[in-house]
Amino acid sequence: AMDRVPLRRVPSIRSQLRAQGLLEDFMKDHSPDMFNRRYAQCYPPGTP
């Protein structure tokens, strides 16, 4: 009752967009959102 799951490492979405020259436009197009602000926010249960 134990199992190994092999994990693969691939270029991130950011890396692929950068390689395609699309990252800057992507960031601008998705404003205002977490990508432009470079963070995610979470308000866990119990947070006023």
Binding site: A1, M2, D3, R4, V5, P6, L7, R8, R9, V10, P11, S12, I13, R14, S15, Q16, L17, R18, A19, L23, E24, F26, M27, K28, D29, H30, D33, M34, F35, N36, R37, R38, Y39, A40, Q41, C42, Y43, P44, P45, G46, T47
Partner: protein
């Protein structure tokens, strides 16, 4: 979130995720690649009914082909950068390696707006955090594995390698135990301080041996779904200055690749033990054209928790340290990978 009567909301960042593995859903099994994310608690994959461009480029779950599928009828929504992923909930058999979970609640996304997922190499996400973070009603996958005694021990562990594709393994998730071949030295056990994320207390962060951040202690989460090391904006900006990183117009921080050997060490103090990263560890190199670009492995992320602002120990940290997530004792173990 209002439907669930909660004020909480997780916003996912899939932009930097790099490690994923295979699972199957349904009977006969339908395969999907998913991020195994300790920073969330839901399982979702694209639905065959999804008509978004992103779905067209990924494997989609065909509920009508599964003999074991149970329709739920409720909807769920997961917020991410530019939009709101929408889906419907269902139950079906989920297989991870040889471990089979029957009647697992999961989400089928029917709407994936924007272009975020278009280039994603993964189809969905399998969350491994505590149930309190779940958007989808029902037990998260690992909770069900524990409840139905599918795993011997209520423990899973991650090995993430920085090595290139020519070497194997690039990473491993071990469900139900610890792989002693993948780490050296003793395991340092850290109690979970809040059961949502895999959240632990961090004593301080030092730059070149000098305690610079959270000198009275702070909170950190161990998050395999995040690529970089995150921290409160004010502190990360100072840290970027200390390592000589320069901001770009899209909010990334560049470092001169020629200066790596002269950059300071950054040390995280956890459970009285020092976890030191050199510049080789915390700088990410990417080829752009025919030259290397060096990026800071730190990012500003303001996450509020009742215990205070959170730091996030993502892949940049976890590639150096084998991580063990122990639900039986609600603790995280770290050892040199």
């Amino acid at each position: 979130s209002l439907r669930l009567g909660r004020s909480s909301e997780k916003i996912y960042n899939f932009m930097d995720a790099q490690y994923f593995g295979e699972i199957s859903v349904g009977n006969p099994p339908q395969n999907f690649s998913v991020i195994f994310d300790t920073g969330s608690a839901d399982l979702w994959v694209p639905s065959s009914y999804c008509v978004s461009h992103a779905c067209a480029l990924h494997r989609r779950f065909k509920a009508f082909e599964s003999h074991s599928f149970h329709h739920d009828g409720r909807t769920f929504g997961i917020h991410y950068g530019s939009g709101h992923l929408l889906g419907v909930m269902g139950r079906d058999t989920v297989k991870i390696g040889q471990l089979v979970t029957l009647n697992q609640e999961f989400g089928e996304s029917v709407y994936e707006p924007g272009s975020t997922f278009v280039t994603a190499k993964f189809d969905g996400v399998l969350g491994l955090a505590y149930q309190s973070l779940a958007e989808i009603l029902g037990n998260p996958v690992f909770d069900n594995m524990i409840a139905h005694k599918i795993v011997d021990e209520p423990v899973f562990s991650f090995y993430l390698s920085r090595r290139t594709k020519t070497s194997t393994p690039e990473g491993e998730l071990l469900l139900g135990g610890i792989d002693e071949a993948l780490y050296t030295g003793p395991i340092n056990w850290l109690p979970v301080s809040a059961k949502g994320y895999w959240q632990i207390k961090m004593e301080s962060v030092a730059v070149q041996g000098v305690s610079s951040f959270c000198p009275r202690g702070c909170q950190a989460i161990v998050d395999t779904g995040t690529s970089l090391i995150g921290g409160p904006t004010n502190e990360i900006l100072i840290l970027q200055q200390l390592i000589g990183a320069t901001p770009t117009n899209i909010g990334e921080f560049l470092i001169d690749c020629g200066r790596l050997s002269s950059l300071p060490h950054v040390t995280f103090i956890l459970g009285g033990k020092e976890y030191t990263l050199t510049s080789e560890h915390y700088v990410r190199k990417e080829m752009f054209g025919n030259r290397d670009l060096c990026f800071s492995g730190f990012q500003a992320i303001d996450i509020v928790s009742p215990e205070g602002p959170l730091w996030i120990l993502g892949d940049v940290f976890l590639t150096e340290y084998y991580s063990i997530f122990d639900r039986g004792h609600d603790r995280v173990g770290l050892a040199r990978a």
